[in-house]
Symmetry: C2
Subunit: 311 residues, 2 copies
């Protein structure tokens, strides 16, 4: 039996997995069991490539990692956006392995495809992700979960609610971008060292402060006045401001269970991201009495491998 793209129903070729984002490129050759055989990473994000440069760049990577192995090439991330190689139209939620797999955007049918991002319709506006859907599918597979709440912290954090193996809905929060913009482009730049290592006590203080209903617009100004009155130094204020921003994210997502669109996270809260970020989120979640488990960049490879196995 062959599928509509001429692939065998149980495709067991190796997979050249590609995570091609705005500012970074990663590729891994995965064996049929999903183990990483070779891997490479660079700063060749999509913004460094002109339209005609995507194909030759991938050919070169293919030559280095997978020559003569005839792998399936699966790419996720912003490579499928308007600024990327080709636009892979969004797949609408609810979406699981089946929906995403059947919406793969084939560049070279049977050989090279881009995983579509997901879209989701809220009452007031749509929401989108690109790349995170692959991480979530991978995390589901790695954790053996078909239900739960998956949180992917970052410039644009994603909270995704999964039931029966499908992503029902998700919300984006601009937490990382707010933190960066506040620390670099407001008066707080004068008093806050946003790049300082984590000061746990100051961070937790920020998370706790964010639980009050008077909001981030007011609370953030403390990162100015605590310095003016010599009550906190620049490094501690970096963690305090980080705690305020991440704390506001948690307040909004954990506290809005009564809201029509939201949904309380289940006990299976899974964090997916860099160790540096998931550490901060785990700490903040503990302040809210919520336990979490964390996964890293292995989720992307697991997701791309699992998607390849659906073909």
């Amino acid at each position: 039996m062959t599928g509509r793209h001429g692939l065998s129903a149980k495709d067991s070729r190796p997979v050249l997995a590609v995570d091609w984002g705005t500012t970074a490129f990663r590729a891994a050759l995965l064996d049929p069991a999903g183990q990483v055989l070779h891997e490479e990473a660079s700063s060749d994000g999509i913004l460094t490539k002109k339209p005609a440069e995507f194909a030759p760049f991938l050919e070169a990577v293919y030559g280095r990692l997978a020559e003569n192995l005839n792998p399936l090439v699966l790419m996720s991330g912003m490579v499928g956006s308007a600024n990327g190689w080709q636009v892979a139209p969004y797949c609408a939620c609810p979406a699981g392995f089946g929906e995403v797999s059947s919406h793969l955007h084939w560049i070279d049918p049977g050989r090279v495809a881009i995983v579509p991002g997901l879209s989701c319709e809220h009452v007031h506006a749509p929401d989108v992700m690109r790349g995170e859907e692959t991480q979530i599918l991978g995390a589901m597979r790695l954790m053996g979960l078909s239900d739960g709440c998956f949180v992917l912290p970052g410039s644009h954090s994603k909270w995704a609610w999964v039931e029966g193996g499908r992503i029902l809905r998700f919300k984006t929060l601009m937490t990382g971008e707010f933190f960066a913009a506040l620390g670099q482009h407001t008066i707080l730049a004068k008093t806050v060292d946003a790049g300082a290592p984590l000061d746990e006590a100051a961070f937790v203080q920020g998370v706790e402060r964010a639980r009050q209903p008077d909001g981030l617009l007011h609370q953030a100004f403390a990162a100015r006045t605590l310095a003016l009155f010599d009550r906190m130094g620049p490094a501690a204020l970096g963690s305090y401001l980080s705690g305020l921003c991440i704390g506001e994210e948690l307040r909004a997502m954990l506290g809005s269970a009564a809201h029509q669109e939201a949904q309380p996270p289940t006990p299976n809260l899974v964090l997916v991201g860099s160790a540096q970020l998931t550490q901060r989120y785990a700490l903040a979640l503990r302040q809210h009495g919520v336990r979490s488990r964390a996964l890293g960049s292995e989720s992307t490879w697991a997701g791309l491998h699992a998607l390849a196995r659906t073909l």
Copy 2:
């Protein structure tokens, strides 16, 4: 009878009122009744002046506006900050005309003084203002109010609660700076025309959206997705994002009446600021069922004149 600075108890000299901020300078010669006789304004904010340049600059203004009139010179604003002419230490709340008057920072006793800013101690951090105290005192005098809630929108909005003629406490919200940083230094810069004229419908839509508990970190991302899906153009999105930010300010201040530190605004809500901003705030307040009255830059001259009359 003479006061401790050698002034007569009822000082009836003209007043040279100076509003010296970070990026702007304004001065007005006021007659004993508080009427403006001459006025000038320039972009000679304190950041354009070295320490030795403040005195000669003021001398020149004095010469142009008030030569031979022997006025009392009263200055308010950031001129009294660490980056200004001399530091006028903060006066602690509660503070009314009496407290502010007795904390004037005299540069030339009996002739030239800086009005002190106010400080206020919240549970988690202190709060400060410089210049707004003079506008609030002026607004109280112009409105004939000794109780009420005074809102001064801006880069750093101030909400001040006044009882019995004294400012009991106040809160700063970084609304204007958030709006500017989001519109210029995040992904929203690509889709939002932050400088476009007010689009009332889009603005109100943002204000209403901000009443939902899922927070600005999430809500702001709509200014990206509504553009991605061609549902709102850049000019309308500028007003929508403005509505989200101002709406978040109102949600936090009007909705936190149960919060230990907060205090519900009284029916006497007075807006003080530029017509462009107070128009937006009045519109947003109406969405919350709160009526307001507005005053402009005349509040500063009224405040300085009223302070001079206390000497």
